[in-house]
């Protein structure tokens, strides 16, 4: 059982590395979708012992929203905005992957004291995995130029948090989980709208140009 969940976590790590490595935005979107599937599997795996309908519903809806709806939205955005790939990010892709390795180690490091007093019965890989996903998300937001990529980064971050929540935290009431999911959905939706409008205002979404407001 633990082996299975460990393997899934490893899969999660790999998706992160792929995100760091690839420059094509569509590919990234697919990866994020894949990640969504993976983490819903994790949720299932972590609560196999007591499989309530609520959990199932939640997992399915997560898969639906994060795995299908959001990617679809984002792809539309990509088509609408018409940017294919992330050109010249602040940090090159090879470097990003290397840094990703570093982040992985780092996340293991900061997870250690937490693991010491972690509640029993969860795989040792999970906390570092979640941490690593969160860090990856942050890193993408920080290191990429395109607004769309940053949205993706935000999604990855969100996924990391979600992994943590759904697997570690006690069974959340369905309402809250749904609320969280809804928020994420709307957030991405609004971001998409803003990106559209920005695109209309200055026919590009290169966030470099979005630094007029400063001191």
């Amino acid at each position: 059982m633990a082996v299975l969940s460990d393997l899934v976590v490893v899969l999660l790590l790999l998706t992160n590395l792929r995100l760091l490595g690839s420059s094509r935005i569509v590919a990234c979107i697919q990866t994020v979708a894949l990640q969504a599937v993976v983490l819903s599997v994790i949720t299932l795996a972590s609560s196999l012992s007591n499989l309530t309908p609520a959990v199932v519903a939640l997992t399915l809806s997560t898969m639906a929203v994060k795995g299908l709806l959001l990617p679809w939205l984002l792809r539309r955005a990509v088509r609408g905005v018409g940017v294919g790939r992330e050109v010249e990010p602040f940090v090159g892709f090879t470097t990003s992957v290397l840094i990703g390795g570093g982040l992985l180690g780092f996340s293991f490091l900061i997870s250690k004291p937490l693991l010491v007093s972690a509640p029993p019965g969860i795989s040792a890989m999970l906390i570092p995995g979640a941490m690593f996903t969160i860090l990856t998300g942050l890193f993408i937001v920080v290191s990429r130029r395109k607004a769309l990529t940053q949205v993706l980064g935000y999604l990855v971050l969100e996924n990391g948090v979600y992994v943590f929540g759904s697997s570690l935290a006690v069974e959340e009431p369905l309402l809250v989980e749904m609320g969280i999911l809804l928020d994420v959905l709307v957030a991405v939706f609004v971001m998409g709208i803003v990106i559209f409008q920005i695109n209309r205002e200055f026919d590009h979404i290169d966030t470099d140009k979005l630094s007029v407001l400063k001191d």
Partner: protein, 668 residues
């Protein structure tokens, strides 16, 4: 009875000021109203102060006030009454003057607000000296600062006025910050901030810390030398009757605060001697520095403002002697220093307001503040000129006026310290004597300059040549104040008892001053009064003699003897710059004067020019650099906010990781 009267007057003032604000649509009407309100407020306050000074007993009143730590706890004791008297008299007289002075603006400006703030200033000053609760005091204190700030801003169309206002506000605010700390320490862990719960928090902060906080906080308001920078900016900017009030009484509230706080600092005998030394040092610096800077000014009101710094210095010297006396157990030194200092508070209030008001009249008549453009005004403004000369004689501490009395008492105190046995007292006293003598000489130089250049000789510009005497309503206060100068000068033994209640708040049951060098203080003062009377008698006698001698002789008019030069013009008169230059030159190391001069050259030189200008060295070489360097630093730091989203998110991430690292000890 006294306190009730006082609250009545405060009420009158607050209500009246509200009416002024409402009436601001009709400017002239608001002007009349404001003056009336101020006078109406002054009368009960004077009665209250008089009553308390006469009976000498403290009256207090406690009302609840729903503000944390606050209560409406007011009391009038000798010290309060002493200051109330000064405040009420000066504010009332200045208001009379102001009505006529402001009429001049009625067409162009809306006078309602200005009177609103004037009366608020008056009321808040009364409240400051009667408040017995920290919150109440601080609120009154800040209202006082703000009201005076808005009065300073009266002419806010002028750039320099706005600059002055800013300087003033900032100085006041920073000073008040120290007062916050001071009061909170005094009321340490108290549920309320009533004064009767105040005390030195043992084990938390020593009395010396509190003393220094008080000296800085209140000194900023009083204008002690390093913190005085706002004073020469703000006073010239304000309308003259406001300058009179600010310089005459408002800065004295700083002295009041210092004295009041000293009463919380435990048994006087336990005070360290260096407190007294501090005050004496501050006093010497403020006194000499103030008069030196005054000597260098060409702006009449700026000059007078610097003289306020000087006189605050003199007061400080007196108080310093008091502290040294108490701590070295030299009662005569203490009592005389305190009496002299307090009397000088009154005297300075009178003659400095007198000077400001007279100066205001001259400025309104000529339309300039630059003394180099005035001259010969005594012929056109006889009464104003006379008042100004009387004020000058008083402020120089010359007999037979009131200035001499207070300085004399400080001197005598110092001498009794010198001739005493304790040497610390002696050294301090000698410092005081030297400083006072120095100040006296410089003051004489400065005021001969002012009178000579402004009122004597011939008009130096057309502005001065067609000046005309001020209206009666403006001259009446001058007359009253001048009369007070003479009265206090001649009848000093009758004035001292009015100060004793105040001193009793600070030196309980001390009659030390009854013995000065083996003579009772009162009989000593009576002798001085006799001497003054004799002096006046001589003058009158000589005047009669001269009249008899000239009775049957020819008295004719002619041009000034100019060593054979036929056609002297008014431009050939000695300028203020030239008059002051030798002295400025002696002190150039301190004043750093900038000379603007064009030497005569060639056989038939066309024109020559000499002008000296002195900036406030503290503003220019101390505060200015600090401010600009901070601004520079801030500029360097602005790249932090440079518009990149990525960077901003990075900040968040870094903050998070650092905190996790630091707090969870992951590092180790």
């Amino acid at each position: 009875m006294g306190i009730v009267l006082l609250l009545v007057s405060i009420g009158v003032l607050v209500l009246g000021s509200a009416f002024c604000a409402v009436a601001s649509r009709r400017s002239r009407w608001a002007n009349q109203l404001g003056g009336v309100v101020a006078v109406a407020g002054a009368i009960p306050a004077i009665l209250a102060a008089g009553h308390v000074l006469w009976t000498g007993e403290t009256e207090e009143l406690r009302l609840p006030w729903a503000v944390p730590f606050g209560s409406f706890y007011t009391a009038v004791d000798g010290l309060s009454a002493f200051f109330i008297m000064a405040i009420a008299v000066i504010c009332g007289l200045a208001a009379m003057y102001g009505v006529s002075y402001m009429r001049h603006y009625a067409g162009r400006k809306n006078l309602g607000p200005s009177w609103f703030f004037y009366n608020m200033l008056f009321a808040s000053m009364l409240l400051v000296v009667t408040a017995r609760n920290g919150m109440l005091f601080l609120v009154a204190w800040e209202i006082m600062s703000l009201a005076s700030f808005f009065l300073v801003m009266f002419d806010h169309e002028k750039e320099e006025v706005r600059e002055a206002g800013w300087t003033y506000l900032v100085a006041m605010h920073l000073g008040t910050a120290f007062l916050f700390a001071l009061f909170l320490l005094l009321s340490w862990q108290g549920k309320t901030m009533d004064f009767d719960t105040f005390g030195v928090p043992s084990g938390v902060a020593s009395g010396s810390v509190l003393f220094l906080l008080a000296v800085i906080g209140f000194g900023t308001k009083a204008g002690f030398m390093p913190m005085h920078v706002w004073l020469p900016e703000a006073h010239p900017a304000a309308p003259s009757h406001v300058s009179a009030v600010m310089s005459g009484v408002m800065i004295k509230t700083g002295i009041y605060g210092l004295l009041r706080v000293l009463t919380f600092l435990g048994e006087p005998s336990t005070w360290p001697t260096w407190w007294g030394w501090t005050l004496i040092g501050v006093g010497a610096v403020s006194g000499i520095g103030g008069v030196l800077f005054a000597l260098a000014q060409h702006d009449l009101k700026r000059l007078l403002a610097y003289h306020s710094v000087e006189n605050i210095g003199i007061i400080c010297l007196g108080l310093g002697l008091w502290l040294v006396g108490t701590s070295t157990d030299n009662p005569a030194l203490a009592a005389l220093g305190l009496l002299g200092g307090l009397l000088h508070v009154w005297n300075h209030a009178i003659f400095k307001s007198l000077l400001f008001l007279a100066a205001g009249a001259a400025i309104q008549a000529t339309g300039t503040r630059d003394i180099e453009l005035m001259g010969g005004l005594l012929k056109r403004m006889r009464h104003t000129g006379l008042a100004f000369i009387i004020g000058s004689v008083a402020i120089c501490g010359l007999p037979p006026l009131n200035g001499f009395i207070s300085e004399f008492m400080i001197y005598v105190g110092a001498f009794s310290g010198v001739t005493g046995s304790v040497t610390t007292g002696a050294t301090a006293s000698l410092l005081v004597v030297a400083a006072l003598a120095m100040i006296g000489g410089l003051a004489i130089a400065c005021f001969t300059k002012v009178i000579g250049v402004v009122f004597l000789g011939e008009g130096r510009s057309d502005l001065a040549k067609d000046a005309s005497e001020a209206p009666a309503l403006m001259r009446a206060p001058l007359a009253i104040m001048a009369g007070l100068c003479v009265l206090i000068g001649l009848l000093s033994p009758l004035v001292i008892p009015a100060i004793e209640p105040a001193t009793r708040c600070l030196i309980p049951n001390s009659t030390a001053y009854r013995n000065v060098g083996g003579m009772d203080l009162y009989s000593l003062l009576w002798r001085i009064s006799t001497a003054f009377v004799v002096l006046i008698a001589f003058i009158v006698g000589l005047w009669a003699l001269r009249r008899r001698l000239l009775a049957h002789r020819t008295v004719q008019e002619a041009g000034t003897w100019d060593c054979g030069y036929a056609a002297p013009t008014s431009r050939m008169q000695y300028t203020a710059s030239s008059f002051a230059w030798p002295i400025l030159d002696m002190f150039r190391f301190l004043l750093r004067p900038q000379v603007l001069q064009q030497r005569p050259s060639g056989l038939f030189p066309e024109k020559a020019k000499f002008e000296s200008h002195v900036d406030d060295v503290f503003r220019k070489y101390a505060y200015g650099p600090i401010f600009s360097s901070v601004a520079w630093l801030a500029d360097r730091l602005r790249w932090v906010q440079q518009g990149r989203n990525q960077l901003y998110v990075l900040y968040i991430a870094l903050a998070l990781l650092t905190l996790l690292f630091w707090k969870l000890g992951v590092a180790k």
